[in-house]
Structure formats: structure tokens, C-alpha cells
Amino acid sequence: MTTRTFREAINHALDLEMERDPTVILIGEDIVGGHGGSSNNPGAGGGIMGITGGLFQKYGASRVIDTPISESAIMGSAAGSALTGLRPVAEMMFADFLGVCFDQIFNQAAKFRYMFGGHARTPMVVRCMTGAGFGAAAQHSQALWPIFTHIPGLKVVLPSNPRDAKGLLITAIRDDDPVIFMEHKVMYDDEGEVPDESYAIPFGEANLTREGDDVTIVAFGRLVNFANQVADKLAGEISVEVVDPRTTSPLDTEVILESVAHTGRLVVVDEAYPLCSMASEALSTVALNELGSLKAPPKKITPPHTPVPASPVLEALYVPSPETIETAVREVMSV
């Protein structure tokens, strides 16, 4: 066990899988860095967030591949090479850029297996950073996991801590289906205890990050940590259970329903836009299957239905805060 940042945990997962399987390659913009230009010093970068640092030096240009700024060609290369023998991990930098290459993801990679009658495997991972909190505004801050969760054929991963990030990324790389792996940019420096060995965390298995009896918070990605803070703060007063689904597709509805059946109260928390969000999905799952257990109307905590603002003042209002979550918990307890 070593204390590692989220960034280091992801780098370690990539390193371990590249070492284990020579068909694993990395492809994306600036993931090597330093090609051409006045210095022409390949390897000078390692991704704008430094995630892929050192991997070019270890695995070389044939497996850590810098591309032009061509998102569709990156995604298509990942999909096409996955069909023909590689396990590419494509880095999309900001998840917002997925808008430039949606077709290759949701009309191509996601559909191959079904369209081709089960005769195709598309083992590719798309890594991208998501979320608000950097003042990066409307085109670099979105929480777009519901869009990908919506598409049959894709799997979607949202790690909330370094340990999960490593284990889930290893699973993603070994998985034979296309996986969208979404990293919250504010969390890259978060530290946590991470096992040194290789381990795979199965998809579709939620983690109870806090166990409790009075109220269930279902939270996604970074906001799991806010939910944990609230649970810890209220301990002794209100017993809060926190469910971290870890993957939104497949979604572990069983654990969500079990928790709600146990506590009878529900707060759902999601950084995605409120319409058709994971918060909506969790609420509908409970409404359809466990409505009778609810002792109080549930609460849905999301940003407003607006783009992400640039102003730090507005951005702070935009992202659900521990305080908002605490208020919601107190409200469902008051009924």
C-alpha cells in the first residue's frame, strides 16, 4: 500500500497493463509531448495534466502515440485498431471534446457488436477529464456521463478516489467492450492509499463508502467525497449511508435499492445537468422498485440546468456543495 495521487494511480494502472499486455497502446494529443517545434524533444510532456508522464520513455513511440489535434481520427483509430487486434487507450483530454467525435463513439464503436451480429469485439478505453471547479467554464467543465450512459454498447466509469481509479482502469483496459473512463480534473492531486499490486475492480458493483441507517445518499464521481464529508459531519446525529456506484453503465441498482429499503430515505447527488442525469436515473429506479420503502419524498441535488459559468462566484454556486447536500439530508430527515 502506498499513498498515491489520483494522477499517479492512473499512470500506474496504464503502466501495469502496458507491461502485461503488448497490445495495449496509448493514443492522444500531447500524451508524449515535445514532438517537433524548437526543442523537438519527444517525451517532454506526458499529457496536459501529466497523467501519461514517463510511459513514452518506457514503451516507446510505437505504443505511446502523439496525434494531431484530430479527435475523430483518434477515436476512429482507437475503434478500428480495437477491431483488429489492439487494446487502445485513447485520451480525449477534456470530455467536452467528445462533442467533436461523437460519431466514432456512439455510431461506430458502441454499435459494432450489435450491428455485426455479435461477431465484433471493440476493446477500447476513452479516458477524459470532466467536471467543474477549475474556472474552465462552459466548454471545458462538463459532466457528460449521462450522455454516454444513455448509449447501449458503451460502459461508463466514474472513479471517486485513487484506489478505485487504478482498479477500475485496469478492468476497463481488460474489458472487451468500449469503455468511457471519466476522471474529475479537480481530483488529480487527491491522495489515497493505493495497493501496489495489480488489481481489477469489477464494473457494476457499487461501493458503500459509508454505512448508515437513516438516509441513503447516492452520489457520483467527485461528489461521493462531498457525501462522505456530510456523513462524517453528521455522525452521531444522523446515520448516513453513501452509495458510490463507481460505474454508471452498468449501474448497480441492486445496492441502491437495498440501501433505500434499509434507510427509507434518499438523497441523490450528481454533477451532471439535471435533465436525464444519473440523479434522475437513480430516482426512477427507486420509484419503480422501492417506492413503498420511502418515508419521505427524496431529494435531487444537481447543478441548475445551465452551462458551467466562468465566474468563480457563479461556479461555486453551480457545483453542488457539501452544505447543499447536508441541507437536503436534514430536510428528508425532517419529514
Binding site: T23, I25, I27, S62, R63, I65, T67, P68, S70, E71, S72, A73, I74, M75, G76, S77, A78, A79, G80, S81, A82, L83, T84, G85, L86, P88, D103, Q104, N107, Q108, K111, F112, R113, Y114, M115, F116, G117, G118, H119, A120, R121, P152, G153, K155, D175, D176, D177, G204, P250
Partner: protein, 322 residues
């Protein structure tokens, strides 16, 4: 480039199979037996054939919405294709792909593609796999003149050059991007020079002349296989049918098609070429004609009689595991 008699007979059989397959699909579509949308390849048979004669099952191709010809030329089972177009359970894709998404990965056929220009990045991916694995394979991106205006194709061409990938861009200039003529939709006026501007060798050939296509693509494949990077061949081969079956082609002077059938029929031209040089006997090709017609007829009979997918097939094969 020399071709054996066996090769020539194979090429003729492929072109003839494509022609008759498509002619029959036109009839069946009109009769209402083939569901969905379908886009026919008649007139362009020499392109798919001249390209795929250079490829093995391990070389990959990405195809287009007009993909039946590519499928046949790449060696996909004709009966399995027919069943797929009729959306039957025993079709190549178990009736879940249909005309616009037909594929056979085991033959290196990475799918017809209902999104114009989407295949080029996929072929670049196959080229990337070939280069990374060092297996000497190449990939071919088929795409029409219309597709070359898509950003995806620009990105794919540039990336193939930057990464020096063994990809051949087989550009099928059939004169129309859907319902719009190339003289309107192509800003630069010349596809080959625009392609060459990406930094790869690019040549233009008469796509109704099998031998011209075969020669040019042979050079391109040689270039790619030897590690020199991508190459492109623009094959000019006007389509005989509309954009899709049922297209009234109001955008086109229909005399144009009559003239094409008379003067630019790749099968007629092939026959003239090989008989004049005494490479093949007319009787041998006549025999192939008969066999092909029989195969198509049998395939249609099988396809009509075959069972549709089962209700439980609706939800299978979305994921490998979930």
C-alpha cells in the same frame, strides 16, 4: 502487374457477382422483400474488385453505405449477405445489421457504414494495428467523392501521413455526393490533387477499367506494405443507380445513365480487354455468368425462406459482457 488466368477469372466472377447481386436487390427492393434503405454499387464493380484483388483476409477494409460490392470483393459469403439484406437470422450479422451495416470481421470487412466519411478513421485504426503489431497487413478506406468533404476524412488522411500508416484511400468518385454533383460540392475542383496535398502519393484512374484500378492500387499497396505510409487512388466510376433505391434521380439527366451502360460498363470493357488479348475465353466467362446467376437466384430463394431473428435476439450481443 501480371495476373494469372485464375486471377482474371476470379476478378471477372467478382465483378459479375456484384452486378447480379445488385440487379437482383433492385428488383427485390421494388417488390418489397428487402427492408430498410439500400444503396447499390452498379457501375462501380471494377473499383472494389481491382482493390480487393490485392488484399488477404487479414488486410482490413472500411466500407460505406454503398457497401455490397466491397463485401463481395472482400470475400464475404454471398448467401450470408443475401440473408442479411433480407434481415434473416442466419444472415452474416444475424439480421441486426442489414444493408448499411453488413460486415464480416473474419474476412477483414469492418462494416458497411451508414455515416458518410466515418470509415476512414476506422481504416486508419486498422493501419495503426498493422503497424504496431508489425504483421505487414494494410488497410483500405473506401469512400465516395461526397465523403471526401467530411472532416473525418481530412483528419484520417493527415493522421495516416503523420503516423506513416499502411492505409490506402480508395476514393470512389461516382460523380455525386448523394443528390449533388461533384462539380458543385468539391471546392478545389480536383480530388486527387487535394488528396496529394495531405502528403501522400495520389493518382487518378478510370474506375470502370478494371486493369487501370488494379495497376494503380497495386502500386499503392506496395507503397503501404513496404512501410512508406499511406497512398490514395481516385477511381472515377459513375453510379448507375440513384443515391438510394427508390431515388427518382430528378437531379440527373437520365440519358447519362444510358450512355454509361453503353460506354462505361466495366464488365463489357473487361471482356473486350481479355478476349482481344486472348487471355480468357468468352465461353469461360459465359459459364461464370451462369454460375453467378444461379448463386444469386439460390441465395434469394434461401433468403425468402429463411427464418427471421427470434424475439430473444433483440437484446443479445449489445456487449461482450455486462
Amino acid at each position: 502487374m501480371e495476373q494469372s488466368n485464375e486471377d482474371l477469372l476470379k476478378a471477372y466472377r467478382t465483378m459479375k457477382t456484384i452486378r447480379e447481386f445488385e440487379a437482383r436487390i433492385a428488383k427485390e427492393f421494388e417488390a418489397g422483400t428487402v427492408p430498410g434503405f439500400t444503396h447499390l454499387y452498379m457501375g462501380q464493380e471494377a473499383v472494389a474488385t481491382g482493390v480487393c484483388m490485392h488484399l488477404s483476409d487479414q488486410d482490413a477494409i472500411s466500407s460505406t453505405h454503398r457497401g455490397h460490392g466491397h463485401c463481395i470483393a472482400k470475400g464475404c459469403d454471398v448467401r450470408g449477405m443475401m440473408l442479411e439484406l433480407f434481415c434473416k437470422r442466419d444472415g452474416l450479422c444475424h439480421g441486426k445489421g442489414g444493408s448499411m451495416h453488413i460486415a464480416d470481421i473474419s474476412k477483414g470487412m469492418l462494416g458497411a457504414n451508414a455515416i458518410v466519411g466515418a470509415g476512414a478513421p476506422l481504416a486508419v485504426g486498422a493501419g495503426l494495428a498493422a503497424k504496431t503489431l508489425g504483421n505487414g497487413h494494410v488497410s483500405v478506406a473506401f469512400g465516395g467523392d461526397g465523403a471526401t468533404n467530411q472532416g473525418t476524412v481530412f483528419e484520417a488522411m493527415n493522421m495516416a501521413v503523420v503516423l506513416k500508416l499502411p492505409v490506402i484511400f480508395a476514393i470512389e468518385n461516382n460523380g455525386y455526393g448523394e443528390h449533388t454533383g461533384i462539380d458543385y460540392h468539391l471546392g478545389s475542383g480536383d480530388l486527387t490533387s487535394r488528396t496529394a496535398a495531405f502528403g501522400m502519393p495520389a493518382v487518378k484512374v478510370d474506375g470502370t477499367d478494371y486493369f487501370a484500378v488494379y495497376e494503380a492500387v497495386g502500386e499503392a499497396v506496395k507503397h503501404a506494405r513496404s512501410g512508406e505510409g499511406p497512398a490514395a487512388v481516385e477511381c472515377v466510376a459513375p453510379r448507375w443507380r440513384g443515391h438510394f433505391e427508390g431515388d427518382p434521380q430528378t437531379y440527373r439527366n437520365l440519358d447519362e445513365i444510358k450512355e454509361l451502360r453503353e460506354k462505361q460498363d466495366c464488365l463489357k470493357r473487361f471482356r473486350e480487354h481479355v478476349t482481344k488479348r486472348k487471355w480468357l475465353k468468352a465461353a469461360d466467362m459465359d459459364a461464370i455468368d451462369k454460375e453467378v446467376l444461379q448463386l444469386i437466384d439460390d441465395s434469394v430463394k434461401d433468403a425468402i425462406a429463411a427464418a427471421p431473428p427470434l424475439p430473444e435476439d433483440l437484446t443479445t450481443d449489445v456487449y461482450v459482457s455486462y
